[in-house]
Symmetry: C2
Subunit: 345 residues, 2 copies
């Protein structure tokens, strides 16, 4: 921990709410309501207060904040698995923004264990971190997120929205990007398109599957549950499901995989077979362009997700108390060949 004398900023008096009120020409209660995100303030007054806050560099309750966080200029990142390239890129991005703020990063992976996610959050809160960026676990009782928020731990959620929308979240527009990607496969002439996803209860699975279904139905095709499989992508179940589909009487001619783990499972499964169905993956992979054919993907932007989430986290740490925001990021279709072939004639 830096000693106290390093943290103080002598020579720069901290502005108070009274300064903000005077500068904005409003009452103290109005400043308080703006700072706490109360919607019952006129737009003009709210704008004046926001302008005064920026001009004065006001930070809400600075001493309370320092009391809480003084010992640790540290933020946390809670993710599923740092060896997943999506999460390692997110981690680098969060670390970079934190570093620009003089903060270091605690990283903790819960590896799909909800109890572990809970322990991690509790442990980070007990360490009085400034705040955390978190990919929420989505099973079991997740009310502890709300409790921790209420106790003063700032949180921004990534990849999946906050349970109950209780906090800021930065997520990809999964449904629209998957709809467009599957429509791209349909435009190549495919009529039977398999969809291999992660666990069915995940928010991202549900959204990506909804996008798949949107495209199927928009093209006047029939949604066939036989062509959809959801499970943990790493344990061989995906490969079994793929083989079952390809060995059926009406096999798929194209495959859509709903995240990088599913894509890798399917690539491994296809390497054991003669069929070469068209393939579109969700999430880019570093060697995608070196495969034969090149792997076409819907590319998320984990760097942007981490950057925006961490910036929003520091806004909260600095005292912003507006209502929870959800930021939706686009994903990009990258065509490299694997999804640009039609069905066999």
């Amino acid at each position: 921990m830096a000693p106290d004398e390093e943290r103080g900023r002598p020579g720069r008096a901290q502005p108070t709410m009274n300064h903000v009120a005077a500068r904005a020409g409003v009452g103290l209660s109005t400043v308080s309501r703006v700072v706490n995100g109360d919607p019952h303030v006129s737009t003009a007054k709210s704008a004046a207060v926001q302008r005064a806050i920026e001009e004065l560099g006001y930070r809400r309750n600075e001493s309370a904040r320092q009391f809480r966080t003084g010992a640790t200029e540290t933020v946390g990142l809670v993710i599923e698995d740092v060896t997943d390239p999506f999460f390692s890129q997110l981690s680098q991005s969060v670390e970079d923004v934190a570093r620009d703020r003089g903060s270091m990063l605690l990283v903790a992976s819960y590896r799909r264990e909800n109890d572990r996610a809970r322990q991690i959050i509790h442990s980070l809160s007990a360490r009085r971190l400034e705040g955390i960026v978190v990919t929420p676990s989505e099973r079991g009782d997740v009310s502890y997120y709300a409790s921790e928020l209420n106790s003063g731990l700032q949180m921004v959620f990534v990849d999946r929205p906050a349970p109950g929308h209780i906090a800021d979240a930065v997520i990809t527009d999964n449904r629209a990007s998957c709809r467009d990607g599957v429509a791209h496969l349909i435009a190549q002439g495919h009529r039977r398109i398999a969809c291999l996803t992660d666990r069915a209860h995940l928010y991202t699975t549900l959204e990506r599957l909804a996008g798949y279904r949107d495209a199927i139905e928009a093209a006047g095709l029939t949604y066939d549950p036989v062509l959809v499989h959801s499970s943990v992508p790493d344990d061989g179940q995906h490969r079994v499901a793929l083989a079952r589909m390809l060995d059926s009487a009406a096999p798929p001619t194209a495959i859509f995989t709903c995240n990088n783990r599913a894509t890798i499972s399917v690539l491994k499964g296809l390497s054991l077979r003669d069929e070469k169905p068209a393939l579109l993956g969700f999430d880019d992979l570093e060697l995608a362009g070196s495969l034969t054919p090149g792997l076409s993907v819907i590319a998320q932007d984990p760097f942007a997700m981490g950057r925006i989430a961490t910036e929003q986290l520091f806004q909260r740490i600095d005292g912003y108390r507006g209502p929870a925001r959800t930021t939706m990021l686009p994903a990009t279709l990258v065509t490299r060949g694997s999804a640009e072939t039609g069905p066999p004639r």
Copy 2:
């Protein structure tokens, strides 16, 4: 930070050096010498003391340790870049061992910036971490590692030895594994084998290049510096060097890449060309088996490296003060096709 009352362990008195001496049937000074790694203690006495330490669960200077670390049950990991799969796997492994000890993990990446590495170490030390696992930067003044060790920050080095061998280190047997790998290429009939490496000053580059040269010379071939290129692998220089070699009058028929970044650069470069030289990479890649042909590699074990380093770090944190140890891990040749073809006839 956990409040003090959570950290204490009432009901379990901490054993002291006096308890250890009594149990081992030796004097207090002997216990002190064993604990501090003094070699001038008989093997029998040393063994008796070690046994007593284990039986009693003695930890050296527990109160001093808690004074230093009580506020943070946290270890640090200092690496080049968490988006590199080698480092993300190392990170997961360190986190898992730390978690089993009730510690959390601060991760910091210095991205090849030596000044940043120094700032990070200083910052971690100022936070009074229990200890750190660190991939040393190797340029500029690295004497700060020794200063931090002297100030009581425990360190274990990974991937590259500690500067001046001042601390424990866990490294791969780079030279032997590269010699065997390049000998494998020579056994396929290759006589001109290019070697693309990371920056020339890195310990790992020097060792892997030495292994390459060992194999070349053991086969009675001539080491040709025209076939060797060293640079940061991500910035296109590798691809330029590769093109220059392949366009020369005596092009290589096989390529050895000295880490995962170099392999990816070369794969990208080769995707733009008609030649398909044999290829052997150092470091495994997740999609290696999905490439055509499958990518043969010399696979390090970053999980074992992280696990052993973190276990050694906790031994140091618990008071072990023996001389600095260097643990050498083997690497495994994994044949998937790309290195199992001879030169064109």
